[in-house]
């Protein structure tokens, strides 16, 4: 039986051999494009939307205070400059003059105060209010274009949050559309919302007054394109076919099997970028079940040949992950972790034998004192994407064949997931997270559960880890932070095996070849706004 995804790939592959007429002949350059995307944004309010996949739309509508360069340094955007006080408690932003929101309101210090006051309110954006914004005690307008933010105690990741948060027009907070997002939730970005057809498409049109692109943008004026339609096509094979037949101009979310269709065809362009944040990782419950034993955790990682699995499922189009953060986050990631353990079935079996998991049933699965060696992997059905269901099946087969470990796969609804997660009723939760947030994500994963470890699926409660993370958050010395995160990484992964990183998720964009300027944001690595995108008649299909 073929799964739906496999079938989709099959169709896409078949089309390799069928010569499709190309629609890319030189025509009068159109000023509008259609961009097919995989996921519909739940809400268009950027503060309430937690979907990494929604950024491709939202980035066009809203601007932020500062942009980032490749290395994470700060560049002017809505703020021309900033200063951080020596004690790490205040941040001053000097705003660019002459910036207006889509509805004509002026973007000044007073408007930013309105934004930051709301971000602190749990009734508005609970996640931000309890997270990075909880460190903020005061936002004030010192002068019309001078904003000052004051913290309770030094918190290094705050600057990244404040610089990157999307800025809304003050009137947005009084709108009926505030929570769902919509045209009334105005921003200052290069595009604004034209129409929304729920379940089908979101149309944007150009902001003709735009003249405040980030310092590293391709140009400063209004966007080249007059209009952009984001059409929602959830099926990967359908997006691929729509682009190949010229019915859309660009698509995102391309499965490993389909990449070659666009990368190897002159009629199309293809770009991809690793996501920042936490790689796709099996977090192993360190408090209950077999995974509470270090030997079992280390045996599992020795039993799985990750490169072979990735090759067979993604055709080598996904890179193996090793760390607690993405390898592209140079300011956080320590490559010393790479190859710190190896695929070694003999070692896996030795560890399990020593730990007393010596009984075997008819199928060769191990047990100890009558308790079978079962690790229950719990995943919310709604979060399965990027062929991860197939990936987990492959991991399951490896663990069983190589070491007699049974991985049981439980796909559950959101309610069961929330409950089992809260009670710790699982052997492993696999997950990835894609923010670009200066290490906040590492805190969420490895601080104790009741002290900010909101996604501490491994249930790590180690005072040493907490101390390292707290120190890292309090210092603005980048080298010192890097060293502290390296210690955390070495301890939780190499020494304890609390988590097993699998692969680095990535974003992919394919487009007709004459559409130029599509790119990923420096540092954040998410799809950038379409501000610099245009048709280039020189590039013929």
């Amino acid at each position: 039986m073929l799964t739906r995804r496999q079938f989709g790939s099959l169709i896409a592959l078949t089309s390799l051999s069928v010569s499709l007429p190309q629609f890319l002949a030189a025509a009068p350059a159109p000023q509008a494009i259609t961009f097919a995307i995989e996921s519909e944004p739940t809400t268009l309010n950027p503060h309430l939307n937690g979907q990494a996949k929604a950024r491709v739309v939202l980035r066009n509508l809203y601007d932020s205070l500062l942009a980032r360069d490749e290395k994470g340094g700060y560049l002017p955007w809505l703020a021309q400059s900033y200063e951080a006080s020596a004690d790490g408690l205040t941040f001053d932003f000097h705003l660019r003059p002459g910036v207006n929101f889509h509805n004509g309101e002026a973007l000044d210090a007073a408007a930013l105060v309105v934004n930051f006051e709301h971000l602190r309110d749990p009734a508005y954006a609970a996640n931000l209010a309890a997270g990075p914004a909880s460190h903020l005690v005061k936002a004030e307008a010192i002068a019309p274009l001078h904003l000052r933010l004051t913290l309770a105690k030094p918190y290094a990741p705050f600057l990244g949050f404040a610089a990157g948060v999307d800025i809304l027009a003050p009137s947005a907070y009084r709108s009926e559309q505030l929570k769902s997002g919509g045209p009334e939730v105005a921003g200052s970005g290069p595009f604004l919302i034209d129409t929304i057809a729920k379940g089908q498409e979101i149309r944007l049109r150009r902001n003709p007054d735009y003249a405040w692109a980030p310092a590293n943008a391709e140009h400063q004026g209004p966007a080249y394109l007059e209009a952009v339609t984001f059409r929602i096509l959830p099926e990967s094979a359908v997006r691929v076919g729509a682009l190949q037949s010229g019915q859309v101009d660009a698509i995102e979310g391309i499965s490993g099997n389909d990449v070659a269709l666009f990368r190897d065809d002159e009629g199309f362009s293809y770009i991809s970028a690793f996501n920042t944040g936490t790689p796709y990782t099996l977090f192993l419950n360190s408090q209950s079940g077999p995974t509470a034993e270090q030997a079992v955790r280390k045996a599992l990682r020795a039993a799985i040949d990750i490169p072979a699995v990735l090759q067979s499922i993604y055709r080598g189009e996904r890179q193996r992950a090793w760390g607690i953060s993405s390898p592209i986050e140079a300011d956080l990631y320590d490559p010393a972790i790479e190859n710190a353990w190896a695929f070694d079935p003999a070692e896996a079996n030795r560890l399990l034998d020593e730990a007393g998991w010596t009984e075997r049933d008819a199928a060769g699965l191990r047990a100890k004192n009558g308790t079978p060696l079962v690790i229950r992997i719990v995943q919310a059905q709604a979060t399965v994407r990027d062929q991860r269901d197939v990936l987990l099946l492959a991991l399951q087969a490896q663990a069983r064949q190589n070491a007699g470990i049974q991985l049981e796969l439980d796909y559950v609804d959101a309610g069961s997931y929330a409950e089992r997660r809260k009670l710790g009723d699982y052997g492993s939760i696999p997950n990835s997270r894609t923010p670009a947030d200066d290490g906040i994500d590492i805190e969420y994963h490895y601080l104790p559960l009741d002290e900010g470890g909101s996604v501490n699926y491994a249930r790590v409660a180690d005072p040493q880890v907490k101390a390292w993370l707290t120190q890292a958050a309090a210092t603005s010395d980048l080298a010192a932070r890097h060293a502290l995160y390296a210690k955390v990484q070495d301890f939780v992964l190499r020494e304890q095996g609390y988590a097993l990183p699998i692969y680095v998720p990535e974003d992919q964009i394919a487009a007709r070849a004459d559409l130029t300027g599509l790119r990923f944001r420096p540092y954040f690595q998410q799809p950038d706004s379409l501000h610099g995108v245009r048709f280039d008649s020189e590039v013929a299909g």
Binding site: S245, Q247, A418, G452
Partner: protein, 325 residues
């Protein structure tokens, strides 16, 4: 079905009374069914695992202040029984609450999705009926043709609509470029989804209809009618079809009611808006206001469908129209 109405018509009075009684009875029982649907849906989401606050908080930090803000915002700080009655009260006034996940009012949200789904369903049913009628009428009691048709129908019934949808898209949209890939923008965009949805439904109906048609054609009345000298076509269309239609109409009503949830895959493949996708997403994320509203809506659709089916019986079978025993 004008063919059916053209024949023997008994006295009008009792028939109208019977009709009125039937419709009134239907409305009354419909209200009860709706109330039961709301209550059952409300109960089952309460019993289902997982605290709503935990789900809404998701991966975020569940501080007491955040939890309290969420409880207050969604009225979850009230006892369940109070939540139930206040929900009933608001539903009566047409207020279906706000979606936890989509952050939008559920009433307008669902309303905006009813028409696309209804369009798709109606087009799918049209495809199904035309397909079933032509297959059955042309091939009943014709051994070779019947076997071929039966094979085609079996193939369509056992074809997943996802697969059929992709194949239709691949052939007619990506390669031949006759129909656009997706969306709810023009009539031509409706053709492929309607085929994907309607063909398997039509295949089921066609099988049932052919069998009952064959049975009808074997009955003595068929011979009688034939002895009047009518053509084979007239026999099939005017006489046998009416005898054969009742099981198919029953089945069709039931299947169409189920199409509401059946459209989800078609909507997904063709990138169409509609109720199916919203419903599935809501169930997966335990978005209670949306789940309850779709439960009410589907109960309403089932009630409407079964009423229409009952009325069709009256139209098809004069014996039921006489009113009383």
């Amino acid at each position: 079905m004008s063919v059916a109405a053209a024949s023997v018509r008994p006295g009008g009075g009792p028939a109208h009374k019977a009709l009125a009684r039937k419709v009134l009875g239907r409305i009354a029982s419909g209200v009860v069914v709706l109330w039961a649907a709301i209550t059952l849906a409300f109960l089952s989401v309460q019993i289902a695992p997982g605290d709503i606050v935990d789900i809404i908080v998701g991966d975020q930090i569940p501080t007491p202040a955040v939890a309290a803000a969420i409880r207050a915002e969604w009225g979850l700080d009230q006892p369940v029984i109070v939540q139930y009655f206040s929900y009933l009260g608001r539903v009566v006034q047409g207020d279906f609450g706000r979606s936890y996940m989509l952050q939008a009012d559920v009433g307008p949200l669902l309303l905006s999705q009813v028409w696309p789904t209804l369009k798709l369903t109606m087009a799918g049913v049209l495809v199904a009926v035309v397909f079933a009628l032509s297959m059955a009428l042309l091939t009943a009691r014709r051994p070779v043709a019947g076997r071929v048709a039966s094979g085609i129908e079996l193939f369509l019934v056992s074809t997943p609509s996802f697969w059929l949808g992709i194949v239709l898209l691949y052939v007619f949209s990506f390669t031949l470029k006759i129909f656009p890939v997706a969306g709810d923008r023009s009539l031509s965009a409706l053709v492929l989804p309607a085929l994907a949805l309607g063909l398997s439904l039509g295949a089921v109906l066609g099988q049932v209809l052919r069998q009952s048609l064959e049975r009808a054609l074997e009955e003595p009345f068929a011979l009688t009618v034939k002895s009047w000298g009518v053509t084979e076509a007239t026999l099939r269309l005017r006489h046998a079809l009416r005898h054969a239609a009742i099981p198919s109409v029953t089945l069709a009503g039931w299947l169409i009611g189920g199409l509401l949830s059946g459209t989800v895959i078609t909507e997904q493949v063709f990138g169409r808006p509609g109720l199916g996708r919203i419903t599935v997403d809501a169930v997966l994320s335990k978005d209670i206001p949306v789940i309850l509203a779709t439960a009410i809506l589907s109960a309403a659709i089932y009630v409407t469908m079964s009423t229409i089916v009952d009325l069709l019986y009256l139209l098809l079978d004069p014996r039921l129209r006489r009113g009383g025993k």
